[in-house]
C-alpha cells in the first residue's frame, strides 16, 4: 500500500522541475529584451550593462536557470522589473486574496453542486432534473467575466446594495472578517462559483444515476434497508470521485480567477498577473505563474492521495 503513495509523492519532483523550466522559459519566449521594462533601450550602454549584471541577464541561459532555481528554493524570486520590490512578497500577498476568493467561491459552488447533483441524479428525468441540468449547463457555459458585469449592473449600479470593486473599504488590502469587507467578497465569489457549481452538479448527477442503476442498490432495497441507509451507500460510492473533482476545481479557480479579478479589481494574483503582462514585468509574471502552478501541483497530489485512501481500488490499479 505505501508504494502507491511513495510513487505518487516522488512523481512531484520531475513535474516541479518541468514546471519551473516552463516558467523560466516563458521569459525567453517573449519577444523583445526582458531588460526593456527595467531600463530604456536608449540608455547609455554602460547603464544597460550594469543593470544587466545586476539582474544576471549577462550570464548564459543554463546558468541563469540554475541560479533562478536555487534562489527560488530559498524563497527568492527576484525583483519586480516595474517597481523593484521583491517578487515573493508581492505574489504571496496577492495569493492570500486569491485564496480567500477561491475558497469562498468553492464553498458556494460545491454546496450548490452537491445538492443539485444529488437531487437531479435521484429524480432523473423529472422536471427538477431538467431544471437543475439546465442551470448546470448554464454554469459551465457562461463567460464568467460577463456574469460579473451583469451582477455589478444589478447589485451595484441599479440596486446599490453591494460594492463593485476592491477587496475592502478604502484601498487597504488587509482583510478582516467584518461586514465592511465581506460585502466586497460577495459578488466576485458568486461570479466565480458558477463554474464549479456546474461541473460538480454534472459530475455528481451522472455518478448518482450510475450508482443507482447498479444491482447492489436493488439488493439493498430488496432486503428492506431504509432509504436513508441506501443513500449512505450511494454517498460512499460517489465520494472519492466527487472529492477529486472538487479538489481540481479549487485549483482551477486559483488560476481561473484572473478574469473575475480584473472585472472586480480584486487585488489577487490574477490582477497582479494582468498588470505584470501590460507593464512587461517578466519577473512578476514568472513568479506568479510558478507559485500558482506549484500550488496546483500540490493540490493535485493531495487530491490523488486522498482519493486513494478513500478508494483502495486505485492503489491496486
Amino acid at each position: 500500500m505505501p508504494i502507491y503513495f511513495l510513487k505518487r509523492v516522488l512523481y512531484v519532483i520531475p513535474i516541479t522541475l518541468a514546471v519551473s523550466f516552463f516558467c523560466f522559459s516563458l521569459v525567453h519566449l517573449s519577444p523583445g529584451d526582458p531588460m526593456d521594462a527595467v531600463v530604456s533601450p536608449d540608455a547609455p550602454s554602460e547603464v544597460v550593462a550594469m543593470v544587466q549584471r545586476a539582474y544576471g541577464f549577462d550570464r548564459p541561459l543554463p546558468e541563469q536557470y540554475g541560479r533562478w532555481v536555487v534562489r527560488a528554493v530559498q524563497g527568492d524570486l527576484g525583483l519586480s522589473a516595474a517597481n523593484g520590490r521583491a517578487v515573493t512578497a508581492e505574489v504571496f500577498s496577492a495569493l492570500k486574496n486569491t485564496l480567500l476568493l477561491a475558497f469562498a467561491a468553492s464553498l458556494i459552488g460545491f454546496t450548490l453542486g452537491c445538492v443539485f447533483g444529488t437531487l437531479a441524479g435521484y429524480f432523473q428525468g423529472s422536471l427538477l432534473d431538467r431544471l437543475v441540468t439546465g442551470i448546470a449547463v448554464g454554469g459551465v457555459s457562461v463567460p464568467h467575466y460577463w456574469l460579473g458585469m451583469l451582477l455589478v449592473i444589478i447589485f451595484s449600479v441599479e440596486l446599490n446594495w453591494l460594492p463593485s470593486s476592491g477587496a475592502g473599504p478604502g484601498s487597504s488590502s488587509d482583510w478582516n472578517f467584518e461586514w465592511a469587507y465581506l460585502r466586497h467578497l460577495i459578488l466576485p465569489a458568486v461570479t466565480l462559483s458558477v463554474i464549479p457549481m456546474g461541473v460538480v452538479t454534472r459530475t455528481i448527477r451522472a455518478m448518482v444515476a450510475d450508482i443507482l442503476a447498479h444491482e447492489f442498490v436493488e439488493a439493498l432495497r430488496a432486503k428492506g434497508m431504509a432509504e436513508r441507509q441506501v443513500f449512505r451507500h450511494v454517498v460512499k460510492n460517489v465520494a472519492p470521485t466527487a472529492l477529486a473533482v472538487m479538489g481540481l476545481q479549487l485549483g482551477y479557480l486559483l488560476g481561473g480567477s484572473i478574469l473575475v479579478e480584473t472585472v472586480f479589481s480584486w487585488p489577487g494574483t490574477g490582477l497582479l498577473l494582468n498588470n505584470a503582462i501590460f507593464q512587461r514585468d517578466l519577473p512578476i509574471l514568472q513568479g506568479t505563474i510558478l507559485v500558482l502552478a506549484l500550488f496546483f501541483v500540490m493540490l493535485n497530489l493531495i487530491v490523488d492521495l486522498a482519493q486513494a485512501r478513500l478508494d483502495p481500488r486505485i492503489q491496486r490499479g
Binding site: V142, P143, I258, I277, F296
Partner: protein, 296 residues
C-alpha cells in the same frame, strides 16, 4: 474512461431510410430537440457571420461623436451605440466572424495535433508512450486559464498569439483522450489480425484505428469549443487578443465596461452573444455524445 465501440447499436432504432453510421448519428441528432434548436441557432449565427457585410445595417467602424452611447431602440441604432458612437448591432454581426474564428480555430488545430500525438503514443505504446504522456502531464500542472493567459502574456498581445496559446492549451487534453481511446483499440483482435497479415503500422492506423478512435476524440473536442469561445473572448477582454477597432465580442465587452453606468443593457450585449454561442455548442456536443453513444 470507458468507451463503447459498438457504433451505437444499443441506442434508439434508426429509420430504415437512413443509411450508414453518420446518417444514423445525424438521424438521432435531428430527433433530439435541444440539440436541434442549438444547431439551428449556431447555424444562424454562422450565416450572420458569413453574410455580415450584407446583413449589418451600418458600417461597424463608423464612429459618431454626437451619437455616443445611445440606448437600445434609438433611431438608427436598433441595439444602441458604443462609446465611440458605432452601431452595436452591426458590430455584433461583424464580431461573429472574429469571435467564432478565434474560438473554434484553436480546437480544430488542437484536434489535428492532439489526435496525432495521442494516436501515435497509444498505438506505439511502451516507452515512447510513457515519454510523450509524461511531457503532456506537465501541461496539466497549469489550470487552463492560467496557461492561456501566461502564454498569451509572454508571447505578447495579438490575435495570432492568442490563437497559438489556446491551441497549446487544448492539445494536452485531446492528446490524453486520443491516447486512452487508441490504447483500448490497439489490443482488439482485428488489429492483431491485420498485424499478423503483415500490414504496415501506418496502414493499420489509417485503415483500422482511425475509424474507431476519431469519433470519440471528435466528440470530446466539440465539448471543448464552448470553453475555447469563453477563453478566446476572455483573452480579448483582457486586451491580449483582438485589437481595437476590430469588432470582437470579448473586446467590445471590455471597451464598453465603463458604459455600464450610462447604458448598462447595451454594454452586456456582446457577452450575451458569447454566452449564447457557448451554451449552444455545449448542448450540441452533449447531443452528439449521446447520438454517437460515446462514453468518455
Amino acid at each position: 474512461m470507458s468507451l463503447t465501440l459498438d457504433g451505437g447499436q444499443t441506442a434508439a432504432p434508426v429509420p430504415a431510410a437512413v443509411q450508414g453510421y453518420w446518417g444514423a448519428v445525424f438521424g438521432r441528432l435531428r430527433r433530439d430537440p435541444v440539440a436541434l434548436v442549438s444547431g439551428i441557432i449556431l447555424l444562424l449565427i454562422v450565416l450572420a457571420a458569413v453574410f455580415a457585410p450584407w446583413l449589418a445595417p451600418a458600417n461597424p467602424f463608423q464612429t459618431s461623436m454626437i451619437n455616443r452611447l445611445q440606448p437600445i431602440g434609438s433611431s438608427g441604432y436598433p441595439l444602441g451605440s458604443d462609446e465611440l458612437g458605432r452601431d452595436v448591432l452591426s458590430r455584433l454581426i461583424h464580431g461573429a466572424r472574429l469571435s467564432l474564428l478565434i474560438g473554434v480555430m484553436p480546437v480544430i488545430n488542437a484536434f489535428v495535433i492532439g489526435s496525432a500525438i495521442g494516436i501515435v503514443a497509444g498505438f506505439v505504446g511502451g516507452k515512447t508512450n510513457s515519454v510523450i504522456m509524461r511531457v503532456i502531464d506537465v501541461f496539466y500542472a497549469f489550470p487552463a486559464v492560467l496557461l492561456a493567459v501566461a502564454l498569451a502574456g509572454a508571447l505578447g498581445a495579438g490575435l495570432v498569439n492568442s490563437l497559438l496559446s489556446l491551441t497549446i492549451v487544448f492539445i494536452p487534453p485531446i492528446a490524453r483522450v486520443a491516447e486512452s481511446v487508441t490504447t483500448q483499440v490497439r489490443s482488439v483482435d482485428y488489429i492483431e489480425a491485420a498485424r499478423a497479415s503483415g500490414a504496415r503500422s501506418l496502414t493499420i492506423i489509417r485503415r483500422h484505428v482511425l475509424g474507431n478512435v476519431l469519433g470519440p476524440i471528435f466528440v470530446y473536442a466539440t465539448s471543448l469549443i464552448s470553453v475555447s469561445m469563453i477563453l478566446a473572448s476572455g483573452l480579448s477582454f483582457l486586451g491580449l487578443g483582438a485589437r481595437p477597432p476590430m469588432p470582437e465580442w470579448g473586446l467590445m465587452l471590455n471597451t464598453m465596461r465603463d458604459a455600464i453606468y450610462v447604458n448598462p443593457w447595451v454594454a452586456v450585449l456582446p457577452g450575451m452573444m458569447i454566452f449564447t454561442v457557448s451554451i449552444c455548442f455545449n448542448m450540441l456536443s452533449d447531443g452528439l455524445r449521446s447520438a454517437m453513444d460515446v462514453k468518455l
